[in-house]
Symmetry: C3
Subunit: 205 residues, 3 copies
Amino acid sequence: MTPTDLINIIGTAAFAFSGYLVGYEKRLDMMGVAIAALLTAVGGGMMRDALVSRIPQVFQHTDALVVVFATLAVSWLLHLERRRKAALTAAFITADAVGLAAFSITGAQVGLAMRLNLFGVVVLAFVTAVGGGMARDILVNRMPMILKTDLYGTVAIAIAALLYLFDKIGWNNAYTLNLLFAGGCLLRLAAYHLHWQLPGFQKKR
Amino acid sequence: MTPTDLINIIGTAAFAFSGYLVGYEKRLDMMGVAIAALLTAVGGGMMRDALVSRIPQVFQHTDALVVVFATLAVSWLLHLERRRKAALTAAFITADAVGLAAFSITGAQVGLAMRLNLFGVVVLAFVTAVGGGMARDILVNRMPMILKTDLYGTVAIAIAALLYLFDKIGWNNAYTLNLLFAGGCLLRLAAYHLHWQLPGFQKKR
Amino acid sequence: MTPTDLINIIGTAAFAFSGYLVGYEKRLDMMGVAIAALLTAVGGGMMRDALVSRIPQVFQHTDALVVVFATLAVSWLLHLERRRKAALTAAFITADAVGLAAFSITGAQVGLAMRLNLFGVVVLAFVTAVGGGMARDILVNRMPMILKTDLYGTVAIAIAALLYLFDKIGWNNAYTLNLLFAGGCLLRLAAYHLHWQLPGFQKKR
């Protein structure tokens, strides 16, 4: 198992857990919870593959699904939704940042392998990392948090744009990938804890 | 015309009628009603085809469209939306169960023909049977009923999982298909009338 | 630059500006505004390409993106969202009608080139012209205006159906395209200003 595999597993578990919490919040039944978790964890990759006309990888390789269902089983058995809110949130935000950075890299690499332009690479990274959670929020009728949350989508875009640049100058290697991954996680966590915002039309807080 | 064709026609008409009723409920104009009916009846199949990178079948074969527009014409001419609610609901739920079971089988067969794994087969069945109605509900800003309704999506998943199993052991034939179809319809109708629920986070009623 | 190119540029700019205004209305940050503008202007074409299993054109050609970002930059620098509402609206509705007609023709031509049936040609025109704005509205949790607005989607459908007909009888040429384009713009503008409505289930006003 390579470091990348480990990162992807942590990201998948974090995203599945995020779906589990939304299922609890919206009072869904078991199937609804499973759909919310699967959409969050593997839905983005499915959407990415549909967008570039590949058979979704998760239709042929089941590793990610094992992670999703294991996460659901553990969460359900330990009643994680009832834990103290602050502890849950801190653990969740950290793991979610890992997923965000990991999936952004995965998605961008698909676009680079297909020789897409910068926009294509950014869209694939964005859809892989953020599309599943967005679809989940739309499905249960929540304003997708991506549009409101501190630098969330911006991290995906920044990772993809930098990886595109690195790729063009021959720097797409394990070293820069690890750097982008760590930098992406840190940026997201810093933005979350320090309430960094992009300029725009938001109301002041 | 084979029994499968007949089942598919009934299912298509039921789903088109469901879209018609949503169009009435949401006060849409003619075009909105047609879009709601088409999304419900053929949208799921289009989404399935996009997911596995096939040209949507309904872009090349128009049989299903004839059924949709005939259903709309009859509903409009007979003002079916004004009938006594109880009679409408009973007829609708029954026909809708037929559509659910029929489209789940159609979708699962596409996945089996493409040699997808269990997850892929289940997703295609689910998307074919449930995706169109889901997209319609999102479009008109309703909480997709699938996430709240007694065993609805569960029937699609159960049919697909059993068909996957049957296929692996050489039992994918007319006999087991009819059995799955009848069993799926009955399960959905029993769940609806007896208020069967999966366990989960729902509020007690 | 052909007249078609010019029409497409005006349409893209108009759609990007429409996304900008929605971003302002919903108080999004810079990234949210950019996503809203991109979805409106190039999202429909991406959805169309995914539906017929082509790599989205905008992943390989960046011309449309230049138009989107130039529109955003100008709107932001001139604070267009603060202009007098009536003037903005009039300019916007006109430009938007141009986009609607232009993108309907583009989408229909893709379907004709793939030899789809009438339904396929209409769906591609509709998705290209209307799908992006619809996805944007769903994302920010607005009732998609398409379902409520005077003859909006109907114009896309009428253009596609006529072009299909013209194509079958050998009239798919620059002359009929210009005619369809002008007719589509005029129909939309007349419907908007005269409040033309399709019959249906709407409440009277």
